[in-house]
């Protein structure tokens, strides 16, 4: 039986990055897509709890079924996994995100939230992001990268409980130097809220921000991307800092 690949994203079901990812995935197997009705960027692993979610069938043809859902990316992933996949998926893909999810951005990303959820559920998962926020971003140089990594993971699998965070630099196919396994760069967003005043004089605050990267040593994803490489960061869902367990023993009662 062909592999079944479940796909989502956070830019919404109509995003061009999702379409490219779907096209490449179909080279490998049957595909189910469930993606948000609208852009759901920066939703992290947010879940919809107070209200129900709805699902709408968008497209159905041989080997492809596309749904839109008004929940978050993690809602999409969980719901599709449990109720809209004809069999257990062999692989979850998320993206291709319009914009970077390198470094600390993995924490906030809805695209990567769905990848993390898939990992919790025990399914191999890969998130793809292109360093170009534009709706008209050129995803053509991304195709062979996605093809290589998806093919590799379908063939060789991934270590247990490990998913991949793949970021692709905004370069032509010729300019991309290769693919590098990396660790997540340390960084943070500062100056994150801008104060404004509404037409009747009341203050409001709008998210903005300036990304500050504290590295790069030459093994981080930021370094790889700045030097023309595709970065692949293996991530996991155990947030425990194991050395600190011992260091903090004197806190016990």
């Amino acid at each position: 039986m062909k592999p079944l690949i479940l796909i989502t994203n956070d830019d919404g079901y109509a995003a061009r990055g999702l379409k490219v990812l779907t096209e490449v995935a179909r080279e490998f197997g049957d595909v189910v897509v469930m993606a948000p009705e609208q852009n759901a960027s920066a939703k992290g692993l947010s879940l919809t709890t107070k209200v129900p979610v709805r699902v709408r069938e968008v497209q159905q043809e041989k080997g492809l079924h596309v749904y839109a859902c008004d929940g978050t990316p993690v809602d999409c992933l969980k719901l599709a996994y449990e109720h809209f996949c004809p069999r257990r998926p062999n692989l979850v893909l998320s993206g291709i995100n319009h914009g970077s999810n390198s470094s600390i951005n993995v924490l906030y990303s809805g695209t990567m939230g769905a990848v993390i959820e898939a990992t919790v559920l025990g399914v191999n998962a890969i998130g793809f992001s292109l360093l170009n926020h534009s709706l008209e971003a050129d995803f053509e140089p991304s195709r062979p990268i996605v093809r290589h990594i998806v093919g590799h993971v379908l063939k060789h699998g991934l270590p247990a409980d490990v998913a991949l965070n793949v970021n692709i630099p905004r370069l032509t196919a010729d300019e991309i130097k290769g693919i590098r396994l990396c660790h997540q760069a340390s960084g943070k967003w500062l100056d994150s809220f801008e104060k404004r005043v509404d037409p009747i004089g009341r203050p409001y605050w709008w998210l903005t921000g300036k990304f500050v990267c504290n590295e790069p040593p030459d093994t981080s994803d930021e370094w790889a991307l700045m030097h023309g490489y595709v970065s692949v960061v293996p991530i996991h869902t155990d947030y425990t800092h194991y050395p600190a367990i011992g260091e903090l023993k004197n806190m016990e009662l």
Copy 2:
């Protein structure tokens, strides 16, 4: 100068757990609270991007300033840290959450999302959760636990880039056996969406779920909680699975 403690949560500014946490924090220093206007559970590290957020002053007295914000817990944390703290906070606290954030729940929790964001910003941070979802939960047995851990962290600090996820069992003060440093238990939520039909016959899906824990070995937070201990899991914000970098080298191009 007294320590400044910044507090948030995901149950909302009016939650009783937040009030108890604020009272204990005031024993140690000046306190700024910025918490969501409404319940914002399961928001993870979600950020508000499409619309602005508003802030409302709720209470001001000597050594205490309380604000409500209509953003997510991470919005609250970032905005308060940058614009509503009179000086850099020495410590961030989040909670006391009404309900567990042990095991994999740390991934979805808004309470813990704010703790993770504080860690990104380089501030020592602790999230507290009580294993009781009720609005009328009894937080009295939590007070000495919170007091001990806050006092310890203010005195001794935390390892760099490490925060604490503290969960308190639903027991009386006498029944609580002690405090244990733990790792995050492996687990997952299954059967997560229930299908229903609305009054005009259209289907909808509502989040529910059954928690399945794959452990416990005797060092996990689930084990500690089940055996009457407060669990303290040191967490960090680097999701990299370092051993996998080497294992996946053959994926490079």
